[in-house]
């Protein structure tokens, strides 16, 4: 799909207009700045606290990506184990489902007791929220293989390893990517929630501090940074998806090549 000039200009103009309307409305309606500050205040907050923001963003980024990476490695491993072992399917899988049914963020206070105040309790929560979509999607992807392909493998004396490597694993990749996209956004949320509970750094901690001092402009800036962080991670995944699974229906749809 080729982007035309219009496709780029339209959203840019829209957001500029939005900012102008916001600025003007807030000024004329005399909205107090602790309720809704004008965009100009947000800009000032951003430039004034740029380095503080950078430091705390890095912390949250590390927590989210750390938790996500852990969920990716363990999630895929678990999915494979569950698909290939009836015993694990009967024992571990229900356990994961029960875990999923619990609100993971409610674990945050417990994690402080179990793991402590630092980075690792946040990584643990980010991991917990990101784990399930990875496991479920990978399980489905490994299982939803055309039975004819399995017949083909059996007729030609294919090994279980061959079926896994040549059919099941590549088949699971588009499913895994769908899970990864959900998991990444969730892991950022998980890290923030964990910071709300107990932290002395990170964007979640920072947004609480801004709230306490009624610095609404700064709180909004932090929220925007969080959005950017999620978008950045999302963009990386989309890029990898195009590179690694150009054959998937989703990528072909995006690129309009078929």
């Amino acid at each position: 799909m080729k982007l035309s000039l219009k496709d780029i200009a339209e959203p840019v103009l829209f957001f500029l207009a939005l900012l102008v309307v916001w600025e003007v409305l807030v000024k004329f309606a005399r909205v107090p700045s602790f309720i809704l500050p004008p965009p100009k205040d947000l800009y000032h907050a951003f430039t004034a606290k740029f380095f503080i923001l950078g430091h705390h963003s890095l912390i949250t980024f590390a927590e989210a990506v750390g938790g996500f990476a852990l969920s990716l490695v363990l999630g895929v491993a678990f999915a494979i184990a569950v698909v290939y072992s009836r015993h694990l399917h009967n024992t571990i899988y229900p356990l994961i489902v029960i875990l999923y049914a619990m609100p993971k963020s409610a674990f945050a206070p417990l994690m402080v007791i179990w793991i402590g105040y630092g980075l690792f309790s946040k990584i643990a929560i980010a991991f917990l929220v990101a784990f399930f979509p990875i496991v479920v999607n990978t399980v489905v992807g490994l299982k939803e293989v055309e039975p004819e392909l399995i017949d083909l493998a059996r007729i030609n004396r294919g090994s279980a390893w061959g079926v896994f490597k040549k059919i099941r694993l590549p088949n699971a990749l588009p499913y895994l990517f769908a899970g990864v996209k959900v998991a990444l956004v969730l892991s950022v949320t998980g890290a923030i929630v964990a910071e709300f509970v107990a932290a002395n750094e990170g964007l979640g901690y920072l947004v609480l501090q801004a709230n306490y001092s009624l610095d609404t402009a700064f709180a909004l800036v932090i929220l925007l940074i969080l959005a950017l962080l999620s978008l950045l991670l999302f963009a990386v995944v989309e890029m990898l998806q195009r590179k690694w699974i150009p054959w998937s229906a989703e990528v072909r749809q995006i690129e309009g090549s078929f």
Partner: protein, 262 residues
């Protein structure tokens, strides 16, 4: 000469709930080596199940299948399979898809490159060697799947309604292509279809099956000369075969068999 494939009193019952579903009822027939045999019947008559039992992918509930005199008790070696859907791997090129059985069989795909190339040329796809399968039309994809079935030089080709999902014109084209390839390779083909005309056009023998549970109604030799052509399908003799088969299927639908074991 002993037949290559002997289907002997094959029964198949699928367990489902308290009662089993009977799919095949004492099915027996022989297939000569090098012949082209079609299994025709209404959908759900167990012809696909029968094909799977012949291939050894699923066991019969009773009875036996022998291939070359040996009892089939597991997946047969030296068999090619074509399914109703092409089921090509999207992440592989056309050539890599053709190589899949070679890889499963633990052989070196390098040794089969010329083979794959000549097979693809045989079906007119030599220019699509490195193409992604999803860029091909349905008929072309099914041609690739035929090449995949043939790459290991199987003695037996099992085809399960391979052209059923294609439009009539493409189906005819592929029927003739298949006949040409069969003539060249001298293999035994077992072809499942619900299309009577297709069965008559292709086969030496048409095995007509009843609705579920599938029984053999007739083993009808087709005496039309070879090579077969599309023009033949409008001939009187061809039409007579079609009518005979249709009549058999109609009779079996109107008068379901009386159960002897009451």
């Amino acid at each position: 000469m002993a037949p290559l494939i002997a289907v002997e009193e094959v029964d198949k019952t699928f367990e489902s709930g308290a009662h089993g579903v009977r799919a095949l009822d004492r099915v027996s027939f022989d297939i000569e080596e090098g012949s082209f045999v079609s299994l025709v019947g209404p959908s759900g008559c167990g012809k696909s199940t029968l094909l799977k039992i012949i291939s050894g992918l699923i066991p019969a509930s009773r009875g036996a299948v022998r291939v070359g005199g040996r009892l089939v008790d597991g997946p047969l070696a030296n068999v090619g399979m074509v399914f109703q859907a092409p089921v090509l791997l999207k992440w592989r090129t056309v050539a890599e898809n053709v190589m899949l059985p070679v890889e499963f069989a633990g052989r070196n795909p390098r040794d089969y490159e010329d083979k794959a190339r000549s097979l693809l040329a045989l079906v007119g796809l030599e220019d699509f060697y490195d193409e992604a399968p999803y860029r091909l039309s349905g008929g072309m994809q099914q041609r690739v799947s035929l090449c995949r079935a043939l790459v290991t030089d199987p003695g037996i080709l099992l085809m399960d309604e391979p052209f059923g999902a294609l439009d009539a014109m493409t189906r005819e084209e592929l029927d003739l292509e298949l006949l040409r390839i069969w003539g060249e390779k001298k293999m035994t083909v077992v072809f499942v279809t619900h299309n009577i005309q297709e069965a008559v056009l292709l086969s030496d023998t048409v095995v007509v099956m009843s609705a579920r549970p599938g029984r053999v109604l007739e083993r009808l030799p087709i005496a039309l000369e070879r090579p077969r052509t599309i023009e033949m399908t409008s001939g009187a003799e061809f039409g007579r075969y079609g009518l005979v088969i249709r009549a058999m299927l109609g009779r079996s639908a109107a008068n379901p068999p009386v159960k002897l074991s009451a």
